[in-house]
């Protein structure tokens, strides 16, 4: 396969990995599948693009504002949607999951209302006048940024989970909230931190990736779906599992497009997801429990 395709796999894989990582963090800290992270990434990207092109804000101000908006949306979702429903239904997950799926559509429509329903171009964070040549492949500035930021997020998060107090508490709360509460952990605060960190990761992922192909208010659903499939493939057994899942999913999509033409991309994704659901639902990196 031509080397340029590997560059594409890395770019797309990093984006899927970041969305999947956001899911994983909320799963760790709240035991909950936060399906609305895709639209938060979209909202951040669309907001940043809108503020740069229509309001002529400097890029960094617009990106920070987009990320802040994504964090705020995630926190509000926990406080006003997930927590009240979980309190009411005590132990049942389905009602809050349905509510978050509804939130996914609400956030998409909110973005369309606030920023308009026209597609917006993403704003590159960096570009090279002369891109880097690696064999036959060409690597642009934004590609370097995508890889660098992705690795930095994964490394920082791994360190946070391992060595910080909140990071260590996160997993305890996610495993068993009642037990954690009994032991005196600040469960509500830890859950909120998980949602905030998930929103932060999604908020960075959106503007990071949108320079490649732009963004519109309907992009969030596909971000959510691909992030979810990346998490299914990677599993939840390691903080690095989403990265593996993202790269595998991206490789499947790019290889299918190259070998069989672009219509096969969706079929390849569907077949891969079905195979993992059927034969390896825990993903590649499963959590091991010592008996």
């Amino acid at each position: 396969m031509p080397s340029q395709l590997f560059v594409s796999i890395v770019e797309i894989g990093c984006f899927f990995a970041l969305i999947a990582l956001g899911y994983l963090i909320v799963l760790y800290g709240a035991g909950f599948f936060h399906f609305a992270l895709g639209p938060y990434a979209m909202f951040s990207a669309l907001g940043a693009a809108y503020w740069v092109t229509a309001s002529e804000w400097p890029l960094w101000v617009a990106v920070v504002a987009g990320v802040a908006a994504a964090v705020a949306l995630s926190v509000v979702t926990e406080l006003l949607v997930v927590r009240p429903i979980e309190k009411r239904v005590r132990g049942e997950e389905l009602p809050s999951l349905i509510a978050v799926v509804a939130t996914l559509f609400a956030v998409s429509q909110l973005a369309g209302t606030v920023f308009g329903r026209k597609p917006f171009p993403g704003q590159p964070w960096m570009d090279f006048e002369d891109p880097i040549e690696w064999g036959e492949a060409v690597i642009g500035g934004q590609t370097v940024i995508i890889v660098g930021v992705t690795l930095a997020i994964f490394i920082l998060l791994a360190a946070w989970l391992r060595w910080s107090r909140y990071g260590q508490w996160l997993r305890a709360v996610g495993e068993n909230q009642e037990a954690a509460r009994t032991l005196g952990f600040p469960v509500a605060r830890i859950r909120l931190a998980a949602f905030a960190v998930g929103g932060l990761i999604a908020g960075i992922a959106g503007p990071l990736f949108s320079p490649k192909a732009g963004v519109n208010f309907e992009s969030g659903l596909s971000y959510s779906l691909f992030g979810f499939i990346a998490l299914v493939m990677g599993g939840t057994g390691s903080i690095w599992a989403p990265l593996a899942g993202g790269l595998i999913l991206a490789a499947l999509q790019i290889a299918a497009s190259y070998l069989f033409g672009s219509p096969s991309l969706n079929y390849a994704t569907l077949i891969a997801a079905a195979l993992f659901f059927a034969f390896r639902p825990e993903g590649l990196f499963a959590r091991r429990v010592r008996h």
Partner: protein
């Protein structure tokens, strides 16, 4: 007795006079149309959010300027024009219902300002409801051709003319093999069905034909598949916008030395040029419609600069064709003498030799009962070439002459 009879006649006469006065106040004696100041409603089917929105909104802007200008001068037949709008998001399955809605809301003419597929999908509705529709920017030949074309008109050179011009350009350049990359929109599918056979008929072999979805994140695989076939040139068929930028960026990376051609999209969407990587558009040839020798283009450019300020990024085919479409509708209504849609349609069919603000200086637009495609020759099209990421000079290898 005489005085009783006189009193009776007097009261009858007074009653009749009073009744006449009431009738005169309620039902004016003068015919309605001469005193009618109500707006003439024009409907506009547009795309505000889909794949065609990049150019649909440029056209909508100049349509609104044209209507504002006409109303400021007293309107048409002493009546203002009123624009009502519906967006189909470039989804042709929505178009007939939205066109019907505008007709129900009083539209006497419909400007078809979404994708070509939307215009084609609207033809039957226009024909059944006998409301004329004019597509200012769509290039699908089927809009102005049978079946159901009785009430459908189109302004610009159709895609078959672009095919003719590119076929001639390829012949002059010695291009024998072509790679084609397209988006998967219904509009481009329809356009390719008319364009590519024209190019093939001129002896060019299409060695690779790839597609990408409108929301594609990456097109490297498709471009590499084209690269492997080593075409003499590559043609990009797209609605434009970010996807075409993605196509051009990737082509620049992978096929820098291969001549590239585009339809009328990216070249006429100035807001997308700065999104391309540095120099990614350099050398790209596209079908423009603005010629430096057309004084009407310069005049319109001045008007739009005054009206739109910094929002106006330079005159493109889209703005010029939108403006001209409104002028043609105005002339058709004046010919009709009233806002009856069937008479307006007949008025359009009798417009001849209109000098538009796009195309070469000698280029004209005419319609007749058997000709609903307005262009009178190929010189409504000008092949332009990018220098860096901005349009440079006309393409030296070939330009269409005015008939």
């Amino acid at each position: 007795m005489k005085s009783k009879a006189f009193k009776l006649w007097k009261s009858v006469a007074l009653t009749a006079l009073a009744a006449s006065a009431v009738a005169a106040l309620t039902f004016p004696a003068v015919p309605a149309r001469a005193q009618d100041k109500s707006p003439i409603v024009i409907g506009m089917l547009e795309d505000t959010s889909g794949g065609a929105s990049f150019y649909s909104q440029l056209t909508a802007g100049s349509i609104k300027v044209a209507i504002e200008e006409i109303n400021a001068k007293g309107g048409v037949l002493g009546r203002p024009l009123k624009l009502i709008e519906e967006s189909d998001a470039n989804n042709p399955s929505q178009s007939p219902a939205l066109v019907s809605r505008m007709i129900q809301n009083g539209a006497k003419v419909i400007l078809l300002n979404s994708g070509s597929a939307s215009a084609v999908a609207s033809k039957k509705t226009l024909s059944e409801q006998k409301i004329p529709g004019l597509a200012p920017t769509n290039i699908d030949t089927r809009i102005g051709s049978a079946p159901d074309q009785e009430y459908s008109f189109m302004l610009p050179n159709p895609i078959t003319d672009i095919g003719t011009i590119y076929a001639e350009a390829f012949k002059k350049m010695g291009v024998k093999t072509l790679g084609v990359i397209s988006d998967d929109s219904p509009t481009i599918a329809g356009i390719n069905g008319l364009l590519l056979p024209k190019i093939q008929a001129a002896g060019v072999t299409i060695v690779a034909q790839e597609k990408a979805p409108l929301d594609a994140n990456d097109v490297t695989a498709q471009i590499i598949r084209i690269k492997e076939k080593k075409p003499d040139a590559v043609l990009v068929c797209s609605l434009g916008g970010q996807l075409e930028v993605l196509f051009e960026n990737t082509l620049y990376q992978q096929l820098r030395k291969t001549p590239r051609f585009s339809l009328a999209s990216i070249g006429n969407q100035p807001s997308t040029w700065k999104l391309a990587q540095p120099n990614a558009l350099d050398g790209l040839v596209y079908a423009a419609s603005i010629a430096s020798n057309n004084p009407r283009s310069a005049a319109l450019s001045k008007l739009l600069t005054a009206k739109q300020g910094a929002k106006f990024l330079g005159l493109t085919a889209y703005e010029a064709q939108g403006y001209d479409a409104v002028q043609l509708v105005k002339q058709a209504i004046e010919k009709a003498g009233q806002d009856d849609p069937t008479l307006i349609k007949t008025g359009l069919e009798h417009l001849s030799g209109y000098k538009p603000s796009f195309g070469s200086e000698k280029f004209t637009i005419s319609f007749n009962p058997g000709k609903h495609i307005g262009t009178d020759g190929l010189c409504g099209l000008v092949l332009m070439q990018f220098k860096g990421n901005k349009p440079g000079a006309p393409f030296k290898t070939y330009q269409a002459a005015c008939d």
